[in-house]
């Protein structure tokens, strides 16, 4: 283990380390804690320039109540879910198949197709922007959740294929050969042999894609406009315009908007980290 385990250090070093941990964390999350503090303050504190003192009264319930019952925020949150969940299902389903095809079979263009998925996953969004917006308009899906979902599924398939293919590569190939000797069809091999083994990869990708899509801002701005289909990342700018200078409400809104992926991360931490490291760092 590196650096040297703290248990083997002198007592003084141990105590210093233990004391430094919370301090470092406080410093690291400082800007975020500030927003959390803002979100429970009454409006009066901001007009009285009491920005950083204790809240003169605790208005958390009122502020968050405003966000949930007196703004478009619930609508945006619902939109975000309706965009994120189908995308996760679609991208994971498609990439289970592409990953299987590229991970199991040997054919000449295999590596090229794989590289195409990887390269496509890295392109800047801007080079896709005009044609994708145009396509979405032509399909009559501009400013709909479906339009956004279809694009997200397609784009995330690149990253998911990279992940799935590498995961399937690491599975014991003898299993598949044994099944083939038994005369089991390829479709059944996929469904009954490989898919059950892919559960950890599916979990990891689902959590990761959920976060990516929830936090997407660019495509939300490019492909949607109003409260009826915008997700929360784009909605929060309209929300902020509505409550201009009402810092306590803007803070509460931001925290609400940020919460679902945070919750996802804490609930599924192990899978999340496995996904982030692309499975490459064991």
């Amino acid at each position: 283990m590196f650096p040297k385990p703290i248990e083997k250090q002198p007592r003084a070093t141990q105590i210093t380390y233990q004391a430094m941990l919370p301090l470092a964390l406080l410093l690291w999350l400082g800007p975020l804690l500030a927003v959390a503090l803002f979100s429970v303050k009454p409006a009066a504190d901001f007009t009285n320039a009491n920005y950083w003192g204790m809240p003169s009264s605790f208005e958390g319930a009122f502020n968050y109540g405003q966000v949930f019952f007196n703004s478009d925020m619930p609508r945006y949150l619902l939109n975000s879910f309706l965009i994120t969940v189908p995308t996760v299902i679609g991208a994971v389903a498609l990439s289970c198949m592409t990953g299987f095809a590229l991970g199991i079979y040997k054919f000449r263009s295999n590596l090229w197709i794989f590289f195409m998925f990887v390269a496509g996953n890295f392109v800047p969004f801007q080079i896709l922007m005009v044609p994708v917006r145009d396509l979405t308009l032509q399909l009559g899906l501009y400013n709909t959740k479906t339009g956004l979902v279809l694009f997200h599924i397609a784009f995330q398939t690149g990253f998911c294929t990279l992940f799935m293919r590498n995961f399937i590569r690491a599975l014991p190939f003898e299993l598949i050969e044994a099944a083939r000797v038994e005369g089991i069809s390829e479709l059944r091999i996929f469904w009954y042999v490989v898919l059950p083994l892919m559960k950890p990869a599916i979990a990891a990708l689902s959590v990761l894609i959920f976060t990516f899509i929830w936090n997407d801002y660019f495509w939300a701005v490019v492909l949607t406009q109003g409260a009826e289909s915008q997700p929360v990342t784009a909605g929060i700018t309209s929300f902020n315009a509505q409550f201009r200078a009402a810092y306590q409400l803007m803070s509460a809104g931001s925290i609400v908007a940020a919460l679902p992926p945070v919750a996802m991360f804490f609930l599924m931490q192990k899978h999340f980290i496995a996904g982030l490291t692309l499975g490459a760092v064991k």
């Binding site: 590196f2 650096p3 800007p31 592409t98 054919f107 936090n215």
Partner: protein, 308 residues
């Protein structure tokens, strides 16, 4: 030849060839989606960059004029020049996330009580949407009440309007971006450190290696896969920077914090008019910059594949 005799033969043809056909059947839906929404649009953008188009009427072929205009913007030190220069600053400074992430990972790589929770909380900024990060830092920099100026005030300095000053604005936004990016690199290194071979460390200790020497000669070589991924995601992140700029400054003041990604959006889809062709030309330039890195990544992956 009867139909009844034909049917089993066809089935057996599929059966005999299914190992050749199956991969294409599995690939078809994903490949179709990816082609339609990603691969073809790249080429469409290349084509579009040779046209002048407002997004509604007929497109007019103008040859390389969009690129000539960009060239003159470059010569005149205009928006395109500023965007490209800022992109370069982003690229270089964003890489600081890698050593910073390594530093925090080394700091947290201990087994004391509650360390798991600390690691999770340090990772926190990456999970939050960049839109929220942008808001948080806009307030952090705020000249009237921001924490930064409160701190500067303690030393009798300031007030400093970071986002309103052409000299500081890009650095201010990059600093905000480094916050989640460092968290990402940290988690990559923490996972990597878990896999470091303890015997090699012991051997190094016996040879008298300590601290920085140990880190450089024994630990870092073993962290290479983590460093590679950290490098990839940081470069991509730097060139994709859009959200923060859009939220924090909208490219201002006076366009001084634009990068190519934002400038393209501004040209093609905002009140400055719908100049799709010109936007596509900017996107092509950004794409070509990214392509250098994509080629390098793919080449590294290709070598690895051959190695197997």
């Amino acid at each position: 030849m009867t139909i009844a005799a034909d049917a089993p033969e066809q089935e057996s043809w599929f059966h005999r060839n299914q190992q050749r056909i199956a991969p294409w059947l599995f690939l078809a839906p994903g490949l179709l989606f990816f082609m339609v929404y990603v691969i073809i649009p790249v080429f469409q953008s290349f084509n579009l960059s040779l046209y002048e188009w407002d997004g509604l009427g007929a497109a007019e072929y103008v040859g390389a004029r969009n690129y000539e205009d960009l060239y003159w913007e470059w010569v005149d030190r205009d928006a395109f020049y500023i965007s490209l220069k800022n992109n370069l600053i982003w690229l270089i400074l964003y890489l600081a996330a890698i050593p910073a992430g390594l530093f925090i990972a080394l700091f947290l790589n201990q087994t004391v009580w509650g360390i798991r929770l600390y690691k999770s909380l340090f990772f926190f900024p990456f999970v939050i949407s960049q839109v929220v990060v942008g808001l948080v830092f806009t307030w952090f920099y705020d000249p009237t009440f921001g924490l930064l100026n409160e701190l500067l005030g303690l030393f009798g300095l300031g007030p400093l309007n970071v986002l309103g000053d052409e000299r500081f604005v890009t650095y201010g936004i990059i600093f905000a971006g480094l916050w989640p990016q460092t968290a990402y690199c940290m988690i990559l290194y923490l996972t990597g450190l878990n896999a470091v071979d303890p015997e090699q460390i012991e051997a190094g200790r016996l040879d008298g290696a300590k601290g920085a020497r140990m880190l450089w000669h024994i630990i870092l070589p073993q962290l290479r896969p983590a460093t590679f991924i950290a490098f990839v995601v940081t470069i991509i992140g730097a060139l994709r920077s859009f959200d923060l700029i859009s939220i924090m400054t909208q490219g201002g003041p006076f366009g001084s914090s634009r990068v190519l990604a934002y400038y393209m959006f501004e040209v093609a889809l905002s009140e400055y008019g719908f100049r799709m062709g010109y936007g596509a030309a900017i996107a092509v330039i950004l794409f070509l910059i990214m392509l250098c890195f994509i080629a390098y990544f793919l080449w590294s992956m290709y070598r690895e594949e051959r190695g197997h």
